[in-house]
């Protein structure tokens, strides 16, 4: 296990294996295909970002990738704010507060766990790591019904604590931290610190924590990206509209307006396609910004523990 978190990531690195060779037609075909797929990847997001600039009628009849006016965004935003006496503000605040709590609890508990496993000699280390790996590889959706039963027993249904606590279990983060601490801090440092009279907690607070900033950034990134768009868990645990998160609220918007399905009946405020697209932007764009900034981290993190150098 020897991933170096400080090393420049190979993804954008210039490899030395470049060498002049004959370029055939196949080479151009490959490049054209790569660019074609890149364009295809961006078009839906482009539509989403441009749609609120238009009126509902223009969304249907104008060029789908055209821009109409900035006023469109303002109008769609006002309409969204008026929907159900401003419930959208609740959804935005909920999404931000739930995610902030999840990112904080998940990152702290996972980094502490990773530190303990790498620095201590407690028993059942291997069993602990294997159970963490299993939790990491089983999709969270698999446990939703059992979790609902559990939360129902302790009366936490429709209480945001249920979503915050459940989502704070962060096995991937614990594993990542274990790899990080194992690779960045040699055990000899802990040994000499102990000889100097450091307690176990001081080993963390004075040695491991100050070296953890890159790790904490990684943990926060993955916890945020994994939870911001989460639909199923809050959908099941939080049935009251005032507790919805943005993705669940967006689902509710679909359901309650005729914008997408005329069979859904009308609403008092015009919630039509531009408004729905704007709500979609609120869900998708924060993740996109974080993703684009941290592309390298995503790859390094996903491969953590397995890149051999």
């Amino acid at each position: 296990m020897s991933i170096d978190f400080k090393k420049k990531v190979p993804v954008v690195g210039k490899e030395p294996r470049k060498r002049r060779r004959k370029v055939g037609i196949g080479h151009y075909a490959v490049n054209v295909w790569l660019i074609f797929w890149a364009v295809l990847s961006v078009i839906p997001m482009l539509w989403l970002v441009l749609a609120p600039s238009k009126t509902d009628r223009e969304v249907s009849y104008k060029n789908p990738l055209s821009f109409a006016s900035f006023h469109g965004f303002v109008r769609a935003w006002k309409n969204l704010q008026d929907f159900n006496s401003g419930v959208l503000a609740h959804w935005v605040i909920n999404s931000i507060t739930y995610n902030a709590a999840i990112v904080l609890i998940a990152s702290v508990t996972a980094s502490l766990a990773g530190f303990v496993i790498s620095a201590s000699r407690i028993r059942f280390k291997k069993a602990f790591l294997i159970s963490t790996l299993i939790m990491m590889l089983v999709p969270p959706v698999a446990l939703v019904i059992p979790l609902f039963i559990e939360m129902n027993k302790v009366n936490l249904i429709d209480n945001p604590l249920s979503v915050i606590l459940i989502s704070s279990l962060y096995p991937f983060g614990a594993f990542l931290s274990y790899i990080y601490y194992s690779n960045t801090i040699p055990p000899e440092i802990y040994e000499s610190a102990r000889l100097d009279g450091c307690s176990d907690f001081q080993l963390y607070s004075r040695i491991a924590f100050p070296l953890s900033y890159p790790l904490l950034a990684l943990l926060g990134f993955f916890a945020f990206v994994g939870n911001w768009g989460n639909y199923f868990m809050p959908y099941i645990m939080l049935p009251s509209p005032e507790h919805y998160t943005l993705p669940v609220g967006l689902g509710a918007l679909f359901f309650s307006t005729p914008a997408i399905n005329p069979g859904n009946g009308g609403t008092s405020v015009p919630i039509l396609k531009p408004e729905i697209a704007l709500a979609g932007i609120l869900v998708a764009v924060p993740v996109m910004i974080v993703f684009l900034i941290s592309q390298k981290r995503l790859i390094r993190g996903m491969l953590a523990g397995s890149i051999k150098e």
């Binding site: 190979p10 490899e15 060498r19 989403l48 299993i134 019904i145 606590l165 802990y190 176990d200």
Partner: protein, 313 residues
């Protein structure tokens, strides 16, 4: 990894620091399973006397077989498509490192931000002939009305496209990252021996990234088996009735929340957990993805500690 052998650490503080995570792992990883198992034999309208034969009742539910065919059909297309496409694309990206490819890679990550309800919104638009940015192409194929596309018989393909489009980009980048970790000496040696780009990809690179491909395969398989949000939202909000209890998880959801039958819902959840668990165990024990965790026996740790002491001496 193991601290000093002479002054044995007092582990109490360490255990205290580990306990918040351990508590979460127990409360939301282990306890729900115990509760689901306890819940399975409880009395319900379909199982008035209670008992473990509820598993049998679930297996005989008339909605299970259609859901199974839907999900199997979905997986049969989705998993191989993902693996082949992602491996091929990452190999193409890895052929050389022209600077413009940085932008291509950035573009590939964009669909990953579109998940759940936003993905449903976007796919509704993409496949609606009056709204779609691709409406020209659709009209060219003679598709002018949404009903030509949005029908239950097409749902498998639509969901495959949705899942594929959302996940392919980020996995291409991840597999590209794994390809970049292959040592340049190996690749140079193969080139000197006369390997073509194709041979290099199939005979050298592919075997070297095999474990990452298996890792991806298991995660994609486990995720696909639990498909829920997309068919559920399509069914409840966009085209009513198009995907009624289409997937296993929708059936499990419907058993729990429409029928109030948590015994059957728990039984189905537990049954669905088995393939995911087997997949996880295969990755952990049958590939060398996490070999340092699984193979590091206490003997090896002791040996390492002894070696360190020897070096110090």
């Amino acid at each position: 990894m193991s601290p000093g052998r002479r002054n044995k650490p007092k582990n109490l503080l360490m255990i205290l620091m580990l306990s918040p995570y351990l508590l979460l792992l127990f409360l939301f990883g282990v306890l729900p399973l115990i509760m689901a198992i306890i819940n399975v034999p409880s009395k319900s309208p379909s199982n008035p006397n209670g008992g473990w034969h509820v598993f049998k009742i679930v297996l005989h539910d008339f909605r299970l077989v259609p859901a199974m065919w839907h999900v199997l059909g979905f997986m049969a297309l989705f998993v191989p498509l993902m693996i082949l496409f992602v491996v091929a694309m990452s190999m193409m990206l890895d052929v050389n490192s022209a600077p413009w490819k940085k932008w291509v890679r950035l573009a590939y990550i964009v669909p990953a931000c579109v998940s759940g309800s936003v993905a449903v919104l976007l796919w509704y638009v993409l496949l609606e002939p009056t709204l779609s940015p691709f409406k020209g192409v659709m009209h060219w194929f003679g598709i002018t009305q949404a009903t030509q596309i949005w029908k239950t018989s097409n749902l498998t393909y639509i969901l495959v496209f949705m899942a594929f489009f959302a996940l392919a980009g980020q996995w291409i980048l991840i597999q590209f990252g794994s390809l970049q970790s292959i040592s340049t000496e190996i690749l140079e040696a193969a080139r000197v021996d006369g390997c073509s780009q194709f041979q290099l990809a199939t005979r050298i690179k592919l075997p070297l990234i095999r474990k990452y491909v298996i890792y991806m395969g298991v995660l994609v398989f486990a995720g696909g088996l639990q498909i829920f949000v997309e068919p559920q939202l399509l069914n409840s909000s966009v085209y009513h009735g198009i995907a009624q209890q289409w997937s296993f998880d929708q059936l499990s959801y419907s058993l729990a929340f429409d029928n109030g039958n948590f015994g059957e819902a728990s039984a189905l959840s537990l049954m669905l957990l088995v393939p995911s668990l087997i997949g996880a165990l295969i990755v952990i024990f049958k590939t060398d993805m996490f070999e340092d965790v699984t193979l590091k026996s206490s003997k090896k740790i002791k040996k390492e500690a002894l070696e360190r002491e020897a070096v110090k001496a």
